[in-house]
């Protein structure tokens, strides 16, 4: 969190940040209408909040509802503000802080998964090694010729980070990541 935003909005003394910033994952249910994503993103940029990751897709086609998953970073006080500010947006139906919700039910964090496509080019020993490691990470080969692979890997962000780091010396060319998709454990909806 940008230290200058504490206390929010006020231009009087800039107080030292005493709370520690945390990463939280928010689920936001919105009407899938033009401009709704711009409203959400505009809120974050306009008020100086961080977006670490953002994923959006229509999840309930018949009701035209989209679910936006945002990983953001801020102090507890700022995270509460983010939630309330999101709730003010007219086409926003619900906002749930999945991280807070998972803490309430005794979990450390919500279930979070990310998908990445990783292109690795190379020949000889490096190529063999890349394939062997991909197998260890349960990444699957979705495209290949004699000089490259494209791996598809799914998992927690940290696992993907690790996979990418390992692929770097083996001829990593480019990466595409989806951003985090998240749900809470248990039978209830958000």
């Amino acid at each position: 969190m940008n230290a200058q935003l504490q206390p929010t909005g006020s231009a009087y003394f800039i107080a030292k940040e005493t709370e520690k910033p945390e990463n939280h994952t928010l689920s936001v249910l919105v009407d899938n209408e033009p401009g709704v994503l711009a409203r959400v993103i505009g809120l974050f940029s306009g008020r100086g909040y961080n977006i670490e990751s953002l994923t959006v897709s229509e999840t309930e086609h018949e009701k035209h509802l989209s679910r936006i998953t945002i990983v953001t970073r801020g102090t507890p006080h700022v995270l509460e503000q983010i939630k309330h500010q999101l709730e003010r947006i007219v086409p926003v139906h619900r906002v749930v802080d999945l991280t807070v919700r998972s803490h309430e039910s005794g979990q450390e964090r919500p279930l979070e998964r990310e998908l990445a496509l990783v292109k690795v080019a190379g020949i000889g020993e490096a190529r063999v090694e890349a394939l062997r490691l991909a197998d260890a990470f349960r990444a699957s080969v979705i495209d290949a010729n004699t000089e490259h692979f494209i791996f598809e890997i799914t998992g927690k962000g940290s696992k993907i980070d690790q996979f990418i780091a390992i692929m770097k010396p083996l001829g990593l060319v480019e990466i595409c990541r989806t951003g985090v998709a998240a749900l809470n454990r248990g039978p209830q909806a958000m």
């Binding site: 909005g9 006020s10 009087y12 006080h77 509460e80």
Partner: protein
Amino acid sequence: MSNGQNERREMTGAEMVVQALKDNGVQHVFGYPGGAVLPIYDEIFQQDEVEHILVRHEQGAGHAAEGYARSTGKAGVMLVTSGPGATNAVTPLQDALMDSIPLVCLTGQVPTSLIGSDAFQECDTVGITRPCTKHNWLVKDVNELAATIHEAFHVATTGRPGPVVVDIPKDVQFAKGFYVPPQIAPRTSYQPKVQGDLEKIKAAVELMAGAKKPIIYSGGGVINSGPEASHLLRELVDLTGFPITSTLMGLGAYPASGKNWMGMLGMHGTYEANMAMHDCDVMICIGARFDDRITGRLTAFSPNSKKIHIDIDPSSINKNVHTEVPIIGDVGRVLEDMVRLWRASAKADKKALYPWWEQIAKWRARDSLAYKMNNDVIMPQYAIERLYELTKGMDTYITTEVGQHQMWAAQHYRVEKPNRWMTSGGLGTMGYGLPAALGVQIAHPDALVIDIAGDASVQMTMQEMSAAVQHNAPIKIFILNNQYMGMVRQWQQLLHGNRLSHSYTEAMPDFVKLAEAYGGHGIRCEKPDELDDAIKEMISVRKPVLFDCRVATLANCFPMIPSGKAHNEMLLPDEATDEAVANAIDAKGRELV
């Protein structure tokens, strides 16, 4: 208003706009025509239920609609063309957003087929206005137009009120489709919570009953909630015997003549109000938002109090100041419960508050709004006092611009009723007051509408004098003319070593001649002993008036909480020597606004 014959009637988009305005009870629209709204103007021409007020600049239309809304409690409506029409509307939209004013802005847009082609007078209106509206829409299908306009009125006027924009491409205005009358069913995602949590209200009443040094701090939310909320606020103050102060936006909710009234609080608030805020043990914030102009240094803000915060917007709770008892709901509804619960328990003994009132009396005796009278030069405070004395019995509405005169007006013009005080609080828009006065006068044709103005602010929207003359709106523009941007200069004296960079207006227009040029009436007054007669003349003229009140050029606005200071570190007028002013703010405070 809606009747059966409108049921799915086929009409053009432009007809729908006018029909939707009628069905939403709109009588006046402030606007300016242009290419992309010509079909709507053509419809307006062919009817006389909705009256169009032609302004001279779209910003004027917006502020006029704001004044209209603030003084009536209804939505203000503006109609502008695409491109520059829409961009000129941005300032009043943001102004209305920050002060929670219901404003419906209809904008024309280039035909849908041209959107994105950099067409003549095209701009991304919904993109530009997204952050300065509560919500906005681009209507691409004529069959959605009527429902969208109804929804726009609903969103603007319910919950925390605010501005909305409906952007209507020209081909949609020409297209034929089916009109639907206002739908009652609100959309599922937009359901503002209006009823407060009863348990929280009980907790609040308990806390209040045990308070030894309570204070009520009310704001614009009370006015927005409607006249009943102001009535209930007065009742609560009477029942509890608590002292009450108010923000700039909330003036009039509790009468300035009321015995528990402490005056406005905040940066230029009274000594007693700010000291009581600092020393209180229970603070009841009603429809206000702990703005930085109110709190001063946050770390030193009312350090020993428990805070109750009533607000309809959950994001206002704990935004700047931590609250022990947050109550989310409409001020009127919550106060109704609060008054009822207080009556039912009614255990509080007003005598317990005597020591607190004694302390307040000591602060009051400091007479923080005092100023040195001068027999040769009109003191700005004196001008406002005389204006108040000569207009107080009348059906008066006050608007202001932004700056020193605004603060003096807030300090010295005693507002008695809600919806009588129109000012730009959050955004601080110079140029708000004159067009706002026009809007108020259109809503209240027989009332006395006065814009207390500064010579710099008033020149920002002076052109609306022409609109006032055209529409026979006899607004009175009472200019405290000190030839400076007074508040800018005051800050330069405080913060920038008295280097008065560009805050002096060397070429001031002759306001009397200017008034006459517009077809209005001009008055100039330079001597204190001529002031009363001049004000009486202003009141009696049934024409727009520019009153050039020449006041002491170097007077500054006190008391003041300097930047970075706490409520109990006010700079009082009798202490504000040149040296004290120069040293009031340390290096760290200088970086702030």
